[in-house]
């Protein structure tokens, strides 16, 4: 296995944000069938160690490409752009204000008349924002505006965290009722 190939090349995919998930899954399984340690269980220790390394690499690549956020981050990493926490840049004030409002809504959700409806409304709002950030990333990346693309990623990290907290809150309320 050629470890110097990027994750897209590894799975014979075009390097870019748009990706055919079914194709990714199929190629991933084909590659695992070739490199998985189970294929080398009866071979030498050295071959087995190599297989663990190869298979680990395939899993990392697959997990990265599978998640739109990790995939977007990876695309920028390939371009030498620092993303997320490593980026020292500030997000626009209006985005941060909006995030604070959304978080307040989340915190107050259990005390509202219909907590589940409140959470559902919040979730669709956050999901819509997430969708627009991904769209923005896609076009910015395509146009080569890496700075703007990187900003989308930082926004997406906020939204991702918010969405998982909404889900956790739903689970908690589910248990209480």
């Amino acid at each position: 296995m050629n470890l110097s190939q990027n994750y897209f090349e590894l799975f014979d995919l075009d390097t870019g944000f748009v990706l055919d998930r079914a194709e990714l899954d199929t190629v991933f399984r084909e590659r695992q069938k070739e490199y998985h340690p189970d294929r080398f269980a009866h071979k030498s220790d050295a071959e087995q160690r190599q297989a663990v390394q190869n298979s680990t690499h395939l899993n990392t690549a697959y997990e990265t490409l599978k998640s739109p956020l990790l995939r977007a981050q990876y695309l920028l990493t390939l371009q030498g752009v620092l993303t997320g926490e490593e980026s020292r840049k500030q997000l626009p004030m209006d985005f941060l204000m909006q995030q604070m409002e959304l978080r307040e809504t989340l915190a107050e959700a259990p005390d509202t008349a219909d907590p589940f409806a409140t959470l559902e409304a919040l979730e669709s709002k956050a999901s819509a924002l997430e969708k627009s950030c991904f769209d923005h990333f896609e076009s910015a990346y395509a146009e080569g505006d890496l700075e703007s693309a990187e900003e989308s990623i930082r926004k997406l990290q906020f939204l991702n965290k918010l969405l998982s907290e909404i889900e956790a809150m739903e689970d908690r309320l589910d248990e209480e009722f």
Partner: protein, 618 residues
């Protein structure tokens, strides 16, 4: 002209080139070994024809016995008859103490917090005891397959954490088995039913064993299995059905004496009644006070209803975890002897609204699936399409400030996997850092399973937050973890490899292997001792008989007294436990009694020659 050999693809040219590989179901109550022969996976029986090996080991000064013979000693020698050792695999002493009431054994604490059980053969770890069960299965397989085993696939419950998996693998190593793969039990069961042949689907595996209940939801896509969620109850199983029934029997017989022996006997009776009620509608038991009690299937179903509901509630929770609705399940597979109980089958059928798979013996189905996988892993089926991709069953993380767990690898991440996380120092001049590895889903250290702790030393003194420590987690295809830590900022590499605290270190394994060789030497000594004792007895008996017969005629009084004294010397030597001493005693007595033997020989020759003419001698 050379003849070309043509073989079917995937078939070995020479059947003798097939590598012998087995699947082992190392169960809480029973264990099995299976192998693929002539293309068919089947469990292997012992010489008496039994396939199930009770997971029971009895220890005496002379060694270990495993299986039915050990099980028969439960009532007479409970402390030395170890059952359900699987429950203690990978557990720390403190965890074992919480199980204490249920376990009739005496414990001592070993190094690294590992519990040891006190037995007649000394203090033994759960790993050593499991290894004795594996040795018995491996010997059975080598005998019935006629050769050395290439390797084994050993099944473990899907929820087993790293320490429990490591302990299982250690037991195999100790038993001299090469582990081709640790396989999740539900996955093995699905493979046994050939569900991997389907294009895609969602499978629920309902496994009600002797002492545990597991429900697993698997997704398969073109020969690739993925565990979506697992759940269950580690303290619910067929034993609880027996327990419920024996409690009911006690209610019927209030005057029955409640000694441990009576209670054990009652559990055995309850179990056979439960088994009989699968076939018949009513059974009559004779209790130890000769009282007769009848129990009907209906009564038994009433007693077991709460237990069945409990399993179905766990099914519901696990489906929710997997994000699957009951009607999205394509197949339900039944595993474990307790799924023979008709009330269980009915409950499962109603819950999933479909007929569960019950064609393969539920006791053997896991071993059969493991054997199929072992055959592939040994390289006997190069064209096989089946590939089992596993996920990490429980998240792995590190302790951070304030007793919180920072997850490094989340559960359900495909394995093998490697992931690194960077940490920093929180005090100026800090030169050491405690790395505490945990497994579990909860946020607090106290709620997670502690796997290992080690200290990374030699961090160059720097301002707080300046040092960069990278901790790397590597999980292999068996789900086993290795952790290493490294200080990055100055390029000083001080990496540490750790193994879970409750597993065994490689040194300990080596020590135990050496001990078992030592023990093999002890066995040899024991056999030699018995041989020499037999030899001594034979000489003493024959010499005494000869003195009684010919002593008056052939020995003077002094010679007779001397010989009798020499016999007494050997007799006392015989009872020492040293074979070498007995051997030289035997030689000495043979030597000092030589003259007597010679005189008897002369006498018998003279007797034989009397009345015969020389020319008749040829």
């Amino acid at each position: 002209m050379a003849l070309l050999q043509i073989a079917e693809p995937g078939m070995s040219l020479d059947p003798h080139q097939r590598k012998l590989a087995v699947g082992i179901d190392l169960g809480t109550t029973n264990s099995l070994v299976a192998s693929v022969r002539n293309g068919v996976a089947e469990t292997l029986s012992d010489q008496a024809g039994y396939h199930l090996l009770p997971s029971v080991v009895h220890y005496s000064e002379l060694g270990a016995t495993v299986g039915a013979e050990a099980l028969s000693k439960v009532s007479d020698d409970p402390f030395n008859t170890i059952q359900s050792i699987k429950r203690l695999m990978g557990r720390s002493s403190s965890e074992v103490l919480t199980l204490g009431d249920q376990l009739p054994y005496q414990f001592s604490e070993g190094e690294g917090g590992m519990p040891y059980l006190k037995t007649a053969l000394g203090d033994l770890s759960p790993v050593q005891i499991s290894a004795d069960i594996l040795k018995a299965l491996s010997a059975r397989a080598a005998e019935s397959l006629g050769g050395e085993l290439e390797g084994a696939v050993i099944t473990v419950p899907a929820y087993f954490d790293d320490a429990q998996r490591q302990a299982t693998k250690d037991a195999a190593t100790l038993a001299g088995l090469k582990v081709l793969r640790l396989l999740n039990e539900p996955t093995a069961a699905a493979v046994a039913y050939g569900l991997d042949q389907q294009d895609k689907g969602v499978v629920a595996v309902y496994d009600l064993g002797g002492g545990t209940f597991d429900i697993s939801i698997l997704r398969l896509t073109k020969g690739v299995f993925e565990v979506l969620a697992t759940g269950g109850d580690s303290a619910l199983g067929g034993d609880d059905f027996d327990h419920a029934l024996s409690q009911w029997l006690l209610d019927q017989a209030p005057e029955l004496e409640r000694t441990p022996a009576v209670m054990r006997a009652l559990m055995v009776q309850a179990r056979s009644a439960k088994e009989a009620l699968t076939e018949v509608d009513s059974v009559t038991l004779t209790l130890s006070n000769d009282q007769q009690v009848s129990v009907t299937r209906q009564q038994f179903e009433q007693l077991s209803a709460p237990l069945v509901s409990k399993t179905l509630r766990a099914c519901k929770r696990t489906l929710k975890d997997a994000g699957i609705k009951p009607d999205e399940i394509n197949d339900v597979v039944m595993v474990g002897g307790s799924t023979r109980v008709p009330a269980v089958v009915e409950g499962v059928k109603a819950f999933f609204n479909r007929e569960p798979h019950t064609d393969i013996d539920p006791d053997r189905v896991v071993a059969v699936g493991a054997a199929l996988q072992a055959d592939i892993l040994a390289g006997n089926k190069p064209d096989a399409d089946l590939l089992l991709l596993d996920v990490l069953p429980l998240s792995l993380g590190l302790e951070t400030m304030g007793g919180l767990v920072e997850k490094v690898i989340h559960r359900n991440t495909p394995i093998p996997v490697a992931r690194a996380q960077e940490f920093t120092t929180y005090q100026d001049g800090q030169t050491a850092m405690l790395v505490h590895v945990l497994q579990g889903e909860r946020e607090l250290v106290d709620d997670c399973r502690s796997l290992a702790q080690f200290t990374l030393r030699g961090i160059p003194p720097m301002a707080a937050g300046a040092a960069k420590i990278r901790v790397t987690f590597q999980v292999d295809a068996d789900g086993l973890l290795n952790v290493s830590a490294k200080e990055l900022s100055t390029g000083i590499e001080s990496a540490v490899q750790v193994k879970p605290s409750y597993g065994l270190s490689d040194t300990e394994i080596t020590q135990m292997l050496t001990d078992s060789y030592q023990f093999a030497a002890d066995d040899k000594e024991r056999r030699a001792l018995r041989e020499q004792q037999v030899e001594a007895d034979r000489l003493i008996v024959s010499l005494e008989a000869a003195i009684a017969e010919d002593g008056d005629q052939l020995l003077n009084e002094q010679e007779r007294q001397d010989l009798l004294a020499e016999i007494e010397v050997l007799r006392s030597l015989r009872d020492t436990a040293v074979s070498k001493a007995i051997e030289s005693g035997v030689e000495h007595l043979a030597h000092v009694s030589d003259f007597f033997a010679a005189r008897r020989m002369d006498q018998s020759i003279q007797k034989a020659l009397q009345g015969q003419r020389v020319d008749q001698l040829d």
